[in-house]
């Protein structure tokens, strides 16, 4: 209520709101900014014969000051995280090593690892083709709209990726596309996008996703196939009575895997690996979620 200089533009309002929300989760901040922008732009559109400053002066009365709005979002986040089950809840961390088997986050992360290769290839190709076409196109008249189109596509891809990351890795990401400046010249919009560090970090993320995707995918496939092969192979050998495990260089191992206890041991190892793989997936999911949050979320 006691803001000395009330913001006179939507941009200024959003900046002040962003300041007031400092420390909240990035996803919450961008939700709040998107809501405020939608509302204030709506207010401006509904009052075409007033200036932006006039509209804002009354809008702040009815919509609320940035400080009040920040408080609303903070208390709402606290209320939702409290009584209602949310993916971010802690208890699952205390189930010990084997508890991971019932942790949906671990399976989500494994799924993400498998998806990471195809999406990574797509992002990479898109970004590289986009960059390498944008630069020469600037020689021509259609270079400018093309650059705008490409930057817009980067924002949309980043948003889609954010939705995937939130869905599978459980890291809160923006639920809305970030605000775009409106009503300015095409040059101003390009300049603004170029000056926005998020444009560059999003591009970096899209490029980085290919090598990361290759690593994730490989680890994911090996992590799924290896335990299945160990358990399934040993089970098959136990049932059929013949061993397909051969270690010609290590006679005692070769011998062990021709005996029933040896095969049971192999199965146990396979089962143990399942837990190791789930933990690995969860760890990678956590790391990647935070990488995505720091590169994709516009603050």
């Amino acid at each position: 209520m006691k803001s000395d200089a009330a913001p006179a533009t939507v941009r200024a309002y959003l900046d002040e709101l962003r300041n007031a929300l400092k420390g909240a989760s990035p996803g919450l901040i961008s939700d709040a900014l998107a809501d405020a922008e939608e509302h204030l732009q709506g207010e401006i559109a509904a009052n075409p014969n007033k200036t932006e400053a006039e509209v804002l002066a009354t809008a702040i009365e009815t919509y609320g000051t940035p400080q009040e709005i920040a408080e609303e979002y903070r208390s709402m986040e606290a209320a939702i995280a409290g009584p209602f089950p949310k993916p971010e809840q802690k208890p699952q961390n205390h189930k010990g090593f084997f508890g991971v088997i019932s942790d949906p986050r671990a399976y989500g992360a494994l799924m993400f690892m498998l998806l990471a290769l195809p999406t990574g290839i797509f992002y990479f190709v898109w970004a590289v083709v986009g960059i390498s076409l944008t630069i020469p196109f600037f020689l021509f008249i259609f270079g400018i709209p093309f650059a705008l189109l490409f930057l817009g596509s980067v924002r949309i891809l980043s948003h889609v990726e954010g939705r995937i990351v939130e869905g599978l890795l459980g890291v809160r990401m923006p639920r809305r596309l970030p605000a775009q400046s409106t009503g300015e010249t095409i040059w101003a919009r390009i300049g603004e996008a170029l000056a926005d560090i998020r444009t560059w970090s999003s591009l970096l993320y899209l490029l980085l996703r290919l090598p990361l995707g290759i690593i994730y995918f490989t680890l994911g496939v090996v992590g799924i196939v290896l335990p299945i092969a160990l358990i399934g192979g040993a089970l098959f050998d136990l049932i059929t009575g013949e061993s397909h495990v051969h270690f010609s260089d290590v006679p005692w191992l070769n011998h062990l895997f021709h005996t029933a206890p040896g095969l049971v041991l192999l199965m146990t190892l396979g089962a143990f690996l399942v837990f190791v793989v789930l933990h690995m997936a969860k760890g990678i999911g956590w790391l990647h979620g935070h990488l995505a949050e720091s590169l994709l979320v516009r603050l």
Binding site: E38, H39, G42, I80, L177, T182
Partner: protein, 133 residues
């Protein structure tokens, strides 16, 4: 509401915390179609009682939480001008919640009115409260 004491502001906020969900469900149920935030904000204001008691900005986080609870559903649609809009519609679960909450609100209002009436009538003269409790 320029010169309200912090106590009153806090009290209003606490009252509104639950009631805003009820009001928003009612608005969306009455509209019978999907509405976006700004439209809902205007509709709430038009409902009468609202006005400045209820800062329009406060409805957005409530809409999001109702959405998260499954009482509302939402989808984002690009708009011709300005940022994309999020449209909210009431779900069947939301309609059920609304009718239950209306009952709860009626009980609560009668209870509070009785308590206040008893208070106005003076101490010792308020049997109304005992009837209800």
């Amino acid at each position: 509401m320029a010169d309200e004491s912090p106590h009153t502001r806090k009290f209003r906020k606490e009252l509104m915390a639950g009631l805003s969900s009820l009001v928003l469900l009612a608005v969306l149920a009455r509209a019978g179609r999907e509405m976006y935030g700004y439209e809902i904000a205007k509709a709430v204001k038009a409902e009468g009682e609202g006005g400045l008691i209820f800062k329009q900005g406060a409805i957005y986080p409530v809409l999001r939480s109702l959405d998260a609870l499954g009482l509302l559903s939402s989808r984002v649609e690009a708009s011709a001008f300005g940022p994309p809009r999020r449209y909210y519609g009431i779900t069947d679960e939301g309609k059920r919640a609304l009718s239950e909450w209306q009952g709860a609100w009626k009980d609560m209002r009668e209870f509070v009115d009785d308590a206040l009436a008893a208070h106005l009538a003076g101490p010792g003269q308020g049997p109304a409260m005992e009837h209800h409790a």
